[in-house]
Subunit: 444 residues, 2 copies
Amino acid sequence: MARPAPLSGFPEWLPEGRIVEQHVLDTFRRTFELWGFASVETRAAEPLDELLRKGEIDKEVYLLRRLHAEGDDDTGRQLGLHFDLTVPFARYVLENAGKLHFPFRRYQIQKVWRGERPQEGRYREFRQADVDVVGNGELPFHHDVEVAQVMAEAVAGLPLPQLRLQLNNRKLIEGFYRGLGAPDVPAVMRAVDKIDKLAPDAVRELLVTEAKLDDAQASRCLALAGISAPDASFVDRVLALGVRDDLLDEGLHELVQVVEGVAALRGERFDVTADLRIARGLDYYTGTVYETRMAGFEHLGSVCSGGRYDSLASDGSTTYPGVGISFGVTRVLAPLLARGALRATRSVPSAVLVAVTAEEGRPASAAVAARLRARGVPAEVAPSAAKFGRQIRHADRRGIPFVWFVQEGGGHEVKDIRSGEQVAADPQTWTPPEEDLHPRVVAG
Amino acid sequence: MARPAPLSGFPEWLPEGRIVEQHVLDTFRRTFELWGFASVETRAAEPLDELLRKGEIDKEVYLLRRLHAEGDDDTGRQLGLHFDLTVPFARYVLENAGKLHFPFRRYQIQKVWRGERPQEGRYREFRQADVDVVGNGELPFHHDVEVAQVMAEAVAGLPLPQLRLQLNNRKLIEGFYRGLGAPDVPAVMRAVDKIDKLAPDAVRELLVTEAKLDDAQASRCLALAGISAPDASFVDRVLALGVRDDLLDEGLHELVQVVEGVAALRGERFDVTADLRIARGLDYYTGTVYETRMAGFEHLGSVCSGGRYDSLASDGSTTYPGVGISFGVTRVLAPLLARGALRATRSVPSAVLVAVTAEEGRPASAAVAARLRARGVPAEVAPSAAKFGRQIRHADRRGIPFVWFVQEGGGHEVKDIRSGEQVAADPQTWTPPEEDLHPRVVAG
C-alpha cells in the first residue's frame, strides 16, 4: 500500500513527542494522587440520550454503528463517543452512588471526541485531564480553592509557557446585575459574554436593547467586566461601582479566597488574576469559574477551565454538587510540539545500548542488560553484531547516551558517546548519572 | 434522572478496581521501558478501508458518523474504531517510516473496540498491552525470544493466577506437513486448528477428506499436535515421527531458543511449554507463535497472544517484518475483579487524612497536608470540622490508614486508625511505613 496520510484533527506523536506527553500525564497523575484524588476511567461510549440530556445538541457527537449490526444482541440504544469527561462522570456518579464515598475526589485523564472542523487548538480526538470533587447533597466551598490549588501545583511543575489562571464567580456577577436592578439577569450575562468578540459599543447596545438596561446601568456592567487584579484589590473597585447585593457579597468573599489560595504558587510558570469578564459562556456554573491562558498562545483560548456547579447530577431525590477543572492536554501540547517548544532528551527509554561483539556473544550482552535493568537502568541489546562504529551510530541516532562493551577477557567498559569517554564498569554496580537515567522533558 | 444501568460489554471499575488496573498498566509500562521499548499511541479511529485491508471483514467494527455531518469539512472516508493495535501500528510505521529508527521497538497500551456479543472474556471495549519489534526489510530472529522474555518478566511481576505461555512455530508445523508429503498444507493447518473444538476422530476425518492425507499421514499430524513439553525434549519426540524437512528443522531450532529463553522466568506466576497444537488460527504468522492460558481461567481462551509475521506492513518497495505479543488486560482483569481475586489495600491514594478541629483551623491542616505531599506522602484534608470520631470514620471507610491531628498548642499527633496507636509527629519528617505509602495490589 502507499504511504498513508495523517487524518486531519486526529493528532499523533512520534516517540519523542509521546515521551513529552507521558511526562505531562505523569505529572498530572502524581499531583492529583498526592492530593488524594482517585482515578476514574469511564467507557468511551455513552447512550446518545445521556450525551444530549443537558441540551447539548450543538455538540458534534460521533455516533457509533456496528458494521454487521443485526440488532438481536443490542440494547437498541444509540451510542455516541463522549465529547467531554463531565457528562460521563455525572453518569458514573449516579450509577455508582451507593458504592462511592462522598465528598468523592476523582481525577480522570482520557481522550474525548468531537466532530468539529479541525484547526490549531481544536481537534476531533483530544485528551483532557479533569479533577473534580463531588458532594452528596452539599459540598463545602473550600473545595473550590482546593481544585484550583491542585491544578496550579500540577502545571507549575511542567516546562510550559506561563499559564495564567483567570478567576471569577457567577454569584459575584449575577449579584451585581441583580443589585443593579437588571430586569433580565441572564440577558445581561449573554451580552457581557460577547465582550471578547464584539466592540464595547456593540456590547453596550446589546445591554440596552436586549437586556433592557439604561445607559448608566450598562456602563457599570462594562466597568465591572473591565476589572482585573492579581489580588483582593478587585473588591474595593467593585464596591466603588456602588452596587450592593447579598449574592454579590458572597461572590466577592468566595473569589478572594480562591485568588489568595493560589497566590503562593505564582512564579515563572504560573500566574493568577481575578478577571471579572470571565463567565464561561452559558454553562451550568453557579459560583467559582476558572479559565486559563497560555502566554504566547492566547489564540488557543482557554486551555484549562471549569467551575462550581450546584447540580453535577441528580437522581430526583439527591442532588450532587461539584467543582472541577479540566486541562486540555492535546490543546496545549499539539502547538508546543509542532513548534519544537517542548522536547525530550531522547526518543527511547534506554539509557544504555549493550553492544554485541559477535552473535555467539549475544547471551553475555543480554546478561549485562538484565543486570542493569534489575537495578532500574533501562537497557537494550544491539540488534546485530555490526562493527562497533555502526552500533554506536545506532545508539546515537536514538539519543541513547551510553554504549556498553563486553570484552573478550570478560571485562566490561562503558562509553559516554557524547564525550567519547570510555571507562571500566561493573554491570552489578554501574549506574548512569541521574539526569541520564530516563529521558527528560525540556523547553525547546 | 433515574439511576443509569451499565452498558453490557463496556466494563468500568470502581476506584479500587481502577487502582488494580493502574498497577497492572504501570507494571507493563515499567517493564517495557526497562527493555527499551518506546511508547506509541495511535488515534482510536482509522479509515475503514485500512481496518479491512487484510480481509478482516468478519470483525465487528464500530463505524463512526458525525451527528451533524454536513460533508464539507470531511475527507469523505468512512472511519471506524480500531479493533486491535496491530493494524493501526502497521499504518503508523508506514506513515512515519522516514522518521523512525529500525529495528523499531514499541509498546502500545490502549483500548480497542469490537461490536461483538458480550460475554465473560469478550467485551465491546477493552484494553490491550502490546509490545512489538519491527524491522526495515529484515528482523533478526533473536527478537522472537526477546518479546517473549519482556512479556514473561512483566506478568511474573503481577499478582495474577499462574500464566502459562504456550509456544509453537509455524515453520515447524508447515515444514512437518510438507515433509510428510501433504498435498495441501493450508488445508492441514485449517483441520488441525479445529483440534480444540472437535473430537480427534472428527479432525482425523477432516485431514483425510479435506486435506487429502492418508490415514498414516493423518495419524502423524495428530501425533505432532499432541506433543507438548516444558523444555527442548519436544525435538526428539518430533524427530521420532520420522518426518524430515529443512523448514521443520529451522522451526525446531527456533522454538528451542524461545522455550529456553524464557525458562529462567518459570515460577509460581509463570510457566512455559512448547505446545505443538498452537497455530493461532489463520492469522498471518510465519514463525514463532505465542498463546497464554491463565490457571483456573482456561475458559477465557488465550489471554496473551502473538507471533512473528514476515510482513507487518509494506509500501510496495519496502517490507517491514515484525514480532510481537499482546496482553488482554481487560480480559484478565474483569473476571479477577468480579471474583474479588485481586484487590487494592485501599480505594484512594491518600495515606493520611489531616483532621480539621474547626473551620478556622483549616489553613493549619492544609499546611500539614502540603508538607506531607512535598515529601511524597499522599494526603488530603478532612472535608468538614466534624467530630473527630466522624472524621476517623471518614478515613476508615476509604481505607486511609492514618489520621493527623493539629493540636491547639501547635503540636501534632498522628493516629494509625487500624491499631489505634497515636503518637506525636513532625509534619516535616514523619513518613508512613513503606507498605502504607501507596495502595498496594494483592491477590484477594
